[in-house]
């Protein structure tokens, strides 16, 4: 990737002071070469060295930020082709779309609807990241008005979609301060679009048929002073899209080709295969996907897929072990246990909440494994449960000695009973059975 560790080392201060968190300057150089650290971690690099090293310390795919404030999204900056090689860092930004040709009330309702599609899953927020406004009316004033209506309904970052510089300029007058993504510069309009992007300090999407044309256009736009570039691969069948997206990712990661070192965007038109196209983009290297039409019923699985693909494959999402209070439990409330795998914890917590009766939930540290997996792996044992009963302080908070265990691990009840001399109650196999189970609990 760019310079070798030795070439980088030449530019470092050679103080071996360890302030960068690495024992020696050489070790730091090695980490820089493999992109594991940022140059800023060394406080002593000279300005000259910084300039010389800029190329190799810059990520192979530029990080482009869209929007401002808490809703800002960063796209790009990936370093691997396969998630198991490290992890994918910047989840595909998903956008819904409204048209400026719609009646004002529909634009407002559409934007509000897209804005409201958010929910928590396994403790993480799932939502759309952007709203795209398309100029389809051919009237700059109408586009500007549509943009202002959308802004009044949502503070999600915007994508302004038009190939007319006049419409774009009108839209930017309304929203230019919020760093919307300008979509898109083409071979025909790039000078005007690049100027707008520069004047408004906004990221710019570019589109051209084929990789050669795309890379040429990127060079022109960059030459004219805009570096926050997003590549739109254009409309094509899924097979061709996969090939193009793969080519771009390989060129940047394996060939260090900086001419196309930008995040990639895919526009998904509204047809029967739209959910499949969008899923392909999420898995195979699209940093942003704009959906012409959003159906919550297919968006929810898409957002779940994005969660799955962008989690760290080395470390399951987990919660802290400990005693959790659900509702306001008293010393007569039931005690149950589960594991610290996020998916498990949030599922069980939700089900207990549904039962409307307060309870204590004891969450064991199974290194983020689900109940069944942990049990099969020997990472959820009666001994662990006993230890936690004794050491968590839960005994003092209870006026009884009853423990409800997940139905799947009914097999441990004998041993657990023996170890603790508590009354062990086998709960339902699926925690969705907890509400009806609780009705019979005493």
């Amino acid at each position: 990737m760019g310079l070798t560790a030795l070439e980088i080392y030449k530019h470092l201060p050679k103080k071996n002071c360890t302030e960068c968190g690495v024992p020696t300057c050489l070790a730091f150089a090695m980490q820089l070469a493999s992109l594991k650290v940022k140059l800023e971690a060394c406080p002593y690099v000279t300005e000259q060295a910084k300039a010389a090293l800029a190329a190799s310390s810059a990520p192979p795919i530029r990080l482009v930020k869209i929007g401002t404030g808490p809703n800002e999204v960063g796209i790009g900056d990936e370093v691997v082709l396969f998630r198991h090689d490290k992890t994918f860092f910047h989840p595909t930004a998903l956008a819904g779309m409204v048209l400026d040709t719609s009646p004002e009330a529909d634009i407002a309702a559409g934007a509000a609807g897209l804005n409201s599609l958010r929910t928590e899953r396994v403790g993480l927020m799932m939502k759309l990241d952007m709203i795209a406004v398309r100029a389809a009316a051919g009237d700059p004033a109408r586009f500007a008005h549509a943009v202002s209506v959308v802004r009044s309904k949502s503070d999600l970052p915007l994508v302004l979609v038009s190939d007319s510089a006049a419409a774009m300029e009108a839209g930017l007058k309304v929203a230019g301060k919020d760093r919307p993504l300008i979509h898109a510069a083409t071979a025909a309009n790039w000078e005007a679009m690049t100027k707008l992007a520069k004047d408004n300090k906004c990221p710019l999407a570019i589109t051209a048929p084929g990789l050669d044309a795309l890379s040429d256009l990127a060079a022109k736009v960059k030459g004219a002073g805009v570096e926050d570039i997003v590549l739109d691969i254009g409309e094509m069948p899924m097979g061709k899209a996969l090939e193009t997206l793969t080519a771009l990712r390989r060129l940047t990661i394996k060939k260090s080709n900086r001419a196309v070192g930008y995040p990639v965007l895919m526009l998904v038109k509204d047809d029967e295969l739209a959910p499949m196209r969008a899923a392909l983009g999420v898995m195979k290297y699209a940093s942003a996907v704009i959906l012409e039409r959003v159906d919550p019923a297919t968006l929810y699985p898409l957002m779940t897929l994005r969660q799955n693909i962008y989690t760290d494959p080395q470390k399951p999402i987990q919660v802290k072990a400990g005693i959790y209070e659900i509702g306001k439990p008293t010393d007569g409330s039931p005690l149950m246990f589960t594991t610290n795998f996020s998916l498990t914890f949030f599922t069980v917590q939700g089900d207990i909440e549904k039962s409307k009766s307060p309870a204590y939930l004891m969450v064991l540290d199974t290194e983020g494994l689900s109940v069944m997996t942990a049990f099969a792996a020997g990472k959820l044992t009666p001994e662990m449960v006993e230890k936690m009963l004794n050491e968590s302080g839960i005994k003092a908070r209870l006026g009884h000695r009853k423990l409800i265990i997940p139905g799947i691990v009914a097999r441990m009840s004998g041993k657990l009973c023996e170890l603790t001399s508590w009354e062990v109650v086998v709960g339902p196999r699926d925690s969705s059975g907890i509400p009806s189970f609780m009705k019979t609990w005493k």
Partner: protein
């Protein structure tokens, strides 16, 4: 300067497996299905040979299973009629194969006899012309007897039977070898376990070109993240030359329906459940194919339609 397509060259190639035997070959199948044979990742024809796109089987059962409401609605009143169900899979929903799950032979449930099972297989064979994949109930001792009878019936049909597992593979391997069937080898979400099972099976005498690997598919949101990477790693290792992993991969996307979010009516930001469920399975399906799956066993007609649509466009890629 024109950009060259940055192709990957692999040294390995996946075994090619054909299922189904036509009349000329002594069977009764009207159609054959071939999977595997590629020297590239799925749909990456620009890298190397990619002769066979993934195929889609639809599952049916010997006794009416308990399925989510939405699935029951979509399948119609065929759940207790395996032959009619199979015919719908092929004629209405264009399944490439049918996967018959003989759950009813389970001694802990209906405990249907091997002869009952054979009758069901025969009916299904008559009803459709596509190749079959036939699974026992997972109860080892019973499966041995069931597969003896079923295998005999399928002798000339060149189908696949399953599943062989780490601790229980011998009797089913014997059946597959004796009756000339391919074998589905199930392992538990781990590249090393998958490889180990393949080694056990080949040492035991099963031909490598007869093994379909099922590395366990976790449904969307419920283990898909693990499966995606396990499948991807298996396929990359195979293409890099590991002969003990060069087998077509089979996955079962019906697991997607175990996710509560696929079925519950009220779900925040979840839209209409009738469309969410099929999308849940189809998303699981396309993810498995992109990772490396070559044969999908699917459940819901709408999900099948989406996945087949995706295959048609994806294979036309290069």
């Amino acid at each position: 300067m024109p950009i060259q397509f940055p192709a990957e060259k692999y040294t390995g190639r996946i075994a090619e497996i054909t299922l189904g035997a036509t009349k000329e070959e002594g069977g009764t199948r009207a159609r054959k299905v071939t999977v595997g044979g590629q020297a590239a990742l799925n749909f990456h024809g620009a890298d190397g040979a990619y002769p066979n796109p993934p195929a889609v089987a639809m599952e049916i059962y010997d006794v009416a299973p308990e399925l989510p409401e939405e699935v029951v609605r979509a399948l119609g009143p065929v759940l207790d009629r395996p032959a009619a169900w199979a015919r719908k899979c092929v004629e209405d929903w264009h399944a490439d194969l049918v996967c018959l799950k003989l759950k009813g032979t389970n001694p802990e449930a209906e405990n249907r006899s091997p002869e009952d099972a054979a009758r069901t297989v025969e009916e299904v064979l008559k009803a459709v012309g596509v190749p079959l994949v036939v699974y026992g109930s997972g109860a080892e001792e019973k499966d041995t007897r069931v597969m003896q009878v079923v295998g005999e019936l399928l002798k000339k049909e060149n189908c696949a039977i399953g599943q062989a597992e780490n601790e229980k593979y011998k009797s089913i391997s014997v059946a597959s070898m004796g009756f000339g069937q391919s074998l589905v080898a199930f392992s538990n979400l781990d590249i090393n376990l998958a490889k180990q099972l393949n080694i056990l099976l080949t040492d035991f005498g099963v031909k490598r070109e007869r093994i379909l690997m099922d590395p366990l598919l976790g449904g969307l949101g419920y283990g898909l993240d693990y499966s995606y990477s396990v499948i991807e790693r298996i396929r990359l290792a195979a293409l890099a030359g590991d002969t003990m992993l060069q087998n077509p991969i089979l996955v079962d996307t019906s697991i997607a329906w175990n996710a509560r979010e696929a079925t519950i009516g009220e779900l925040a930001a979840g839209g209409d459940a009738a469309r969410r469920g099929p999308a849940w399975e189809a998303t699981t399906g396309i993810a498995s194919m992109v990772a490396g799956a070559d044969l999908l066993v699917m459940r819901h007609p709408e999900a099948v339609k989406m996945v087949k649509g995706a295959i048609a466009e994806l294979k036309g890629g290069a």
